[in-house]
C-alpha cells in the first residue's frame, strides 16, 4: 500500500522547487523522512545544482539551517531522518538561511 504525504517548502525554499510551496507525494509504506528527501529531490528539484541548498554534503541528510516540522512538530522530537511516514503526514521544510 502506498501513502500520500504532503511536503511544504517555506522560508524561500520554494525558489529551488519551481516556486512550489506545497506538494503531495506518494511514497511506499514503511518509507522514512530519509526516503522522502530523495523523492523530493528527484521529483521537484528544478536545477540539479541546487541540491546543496536542500541536502547536506553527503546528499543524505538535510542541510544545516533548514528546519523540519512533521505535522507541525519539531522533527527532533520525532526521530528526524528515521521517522516512519504515515498516511496524510505533513512535512514542512523551512529555510532559516536568509536575512532577518
Amino acid at each position: 500500500m502506498s501513502l500520500s504525504v504532503s511536503a511544504e517548502f517555506l522560508g524561500g525554499l520554494d525558489q529551488i522547487f519551481g516556486k512550489v510551496r506545497q506538494s503531495t507525494l506518494t511514497v511506499p509504506e514503511g518509507s522514512t523522512i530519509k526516503d522522502l528527501l530523495q523523492l523530493i529531490v528527484q521529483q521537484h528539484l528544478e536545477n540539479p545544482k541546487d541540491i546543496c541548498m536542500f541536502l547536506d554534503d553527503d546528499n543524505e541528510g538535510i542541510r544545516a539551517g533548514i528546519l523540519v516540522l512533521i505535522n507541525d512538530v519539531d522533527w527532533e522530537l520525532e526521530g528526524e531522518l528515521e521517522y516512519e511516514l504515515e498516511h496524510k503526514d505533513v512535512v514542512t521544510f523551512t529555510s532559516t538561511l536568509h536575512g532577518g
Binding site: G11, G65, D74, L77, T96, G99
Partner: protein
C-alpha cells in the same frame, strides 16, 4: 486540527510537554534541549525577551523606539513581540517601524511590501528612508560600479547611517534591531576568523552607541535562537518575507554562517557558548593609550557634560563614546575622521560612475537579478 488527533493515537505514546505536563510536545529548545508544547513555548519565548529587556534596562517609560524593520523573520517577530510586551508589561513605549530602502530590485521592493502589511497588522506607524534620497545612489547602481564582492561593505556602512538618519528624522534616539543569537555568534566567529580584534570586543554588546552616531542601538533578541524565532513566526502565522538578498551569497558572513550552522548541528548550545566567549574576550588596554588618557586628565580637559544642539533640534549626547567627536566635513554627520566612511565610499563610487554610465547606458536596475539569471542559463 486533524494532525493533533492523529499524533495522539499514533504508536500509543503521546509525549507530554516537560513544563506544563499536559499538552503535546511541539518543539525541542536548542538552548537547553527542553521538550515543550506550543503554548509553553510562546510563554517562555516572550518571557525570556522580557527578562533580557528588564535586566539590561533597555528602555525607559515614555521612550520613543524605532524598530529597524526589513520585513524579514527577525524584525517581523521583533515588531510583534515588542508590541505585545509593551502592552502586557506597560513599558510605556512609543513604537515606530523604520525601514530602509536600499534600492535592490527583486529583493527590497518585495520585502518593503511586507513591512507595509505589518504596519497595518500591528497598527504601528512606518517610516521608509531610501538610499536614493539620502545618497542619490541605489544599491543596484553601487554594485554595478563597485562589483558584487564589496556589496555588503557598502550596504552595511550606508544602512547604519540611514537608520540613524531615519531615526533622527522621527526625533527618536533609540533603534532596536532583530539581531538574534545566531547572528551574534556568527559575528564573533567572523571577527575571530579575520583577526578583527577591535570589532571583536564590542561585537556582543547588547546596547551600543557607536562613535559615529548619537543614536542608541539595542538587540533584544541577543539570546534568542534563530530556530525559535522562525518557529514562533511559523506557529503564530506571522507575515514575513523570506528571500535571501540577491547580493548576499558573496559575503564573507556566509562562510561564518555555514561554519556556525554545522557547529550547531553537533552541539546546539554552542551558539550561546560562542556569545559567552565573545562577551568575555576583553582586550588589554594598550599602555600608550593609558598614558595619553592620563595626560588629558591632568590637563584638566575633561568635558563630560558638553551638550550640542543641532539644526534639526536633536541633541548630541556629549563626547563620551566618541574618539574625538568630529563632524564629517561633507555631510555634517558625526564621524571620527574628517570625512565619514559613507562619504568616503560614495566619493570612490562617483569616480567610477562616469565610466560605468558609458559602458552600461545607465541601465542598472536589478543588476544582481540579471547576473543570477545569466549564471543559471545553460546550453
Amino acid at each position: 486540527m486533524t494532525n493533533d488527533e492523529k499524533t495522539k493515537t499514533k504508536k500509543g505514546n503521546l509525549k507530554l510537554c516537560e513544563l506544563c505536563k499536559s499538552r503535546k510536545q511541539a518543539i525541542k529548545r536548542p538552548k537547553n534541549l527542553q521538550k515543550i508544547c506550543k503554548e509553553c513555548f510562546y510563554h517562555v519565548f516572550e518571557t525570556e525577551i522580557h527578562q533580557t529587556i528588564v535586566s539590561n534596562n533597555l528602555f525607559f517609560p515614555g521612550e520613543k523606539v524605532a524598530i529597524g524593520a526589513s520585513g524579514g523573520k527577525d524584525s517581523t517577530v521583533l515588531a510583534y513581540v515588542l508590541k505585545l510586551l509593551n502592552e502586557r508589561y506597560n513599558y510605556g513605549l512609543e513604537l515606530v517601524l523604520l525601514s530602509i530602502d536600499e534600492g535592490i530590485v527583486g529583493y527590497r521592493d518585495d520585502s518593503l511590501a511586507t513591512v507595509q502589511r505589518n504596519k497595518i497588522q500591528y497598527n504601528l506607524p512606518l517610516e521608509i528612508v531610501s538610499y536614493r534620497d539620502l545618497y542619490n545612489w541605489t544599491m543596484d547602481e553601487i554594485v554595478s560600479c563597485a562589483g558584487i564582492r564589496n556589496s555588503c561593505t557598502y550596504c552595511g556602512v550606508l544602512r547604519r547611517q540611514a537608520l540613524d538618519r531615519g531615526a533622527a528624522k522621527l526625533g527618536i534616539n533609540h533603534v532596536v534591531t532583530g539581531h538574534n543569537a545566531d547572528d551574534m555568534a556568527e559575528t564573533v566567529l567572523m571577527n575571530i576568523l579575520r583577526g578583527d580584534l577591535a570589532r571583536l570586543e564590542n561585537s556582543t554588546t547588547i546596547c551600543t552607541k557607536s562613535s559615529g552616531s548619537p543614536i542608541k542601538r539595542s538587540k533584544p533578541f541577543k539570546y534568542i535562537y534563530q530556530k525559535e524565532i522562525v518557529l514562533y513566526a511559523h506557529y503564530k502565522k506571522l507575515d514575513y518575507f523570506s528571500t535571501e538578498c540577491t547580493y548576499a551569497p558573496e559575503a564573507f558572513r556566509g562562510t561564518a554562517r555555514v561554519l556556525m550552522k554545522n557547529l550547531e548541528k553537533i552541539r546546539s548550545s554552542c551558539i550561546t557558548d560562542i556569545i559567552y566567549s565573545g562577551e568575555n574576550l576583553v582586550l588589554k588596554e594598550k599602555k600608550k593609550r593609558q598614558q595619553f588618557k592620563k595626560k588629558q586628565n591632568a590637563n584638566g580637559s575633561k568635558e563630560p557634560t558638553e551638550v550640542e544642539i543641532r539644526n534639526d533640534g536633536s541633541i548630541s549626547l556629549g563626547k563620551h563614546g566618541f574618539k574625538d567627536g568630529n563632524r564629517c566635513t561633507r555631510c555634517g554627520y558625526l564621524s571620527s575622521n574628517t570625512i565619514c566612511k559613507a562619504c568616503m565610499l560614495l566619493e570612490g563610487l562617483e569616480k567610477s560612475k562616469a565610466k560605468i554610465m558609458l559602458e552600461n547606458d545607465g541601465v542598472t536596475d536589478g543588476a544582481a537579478k540579471l547576473t543570477r539569471t545569466l549564471e543559471s542559463l545553460t546550453f
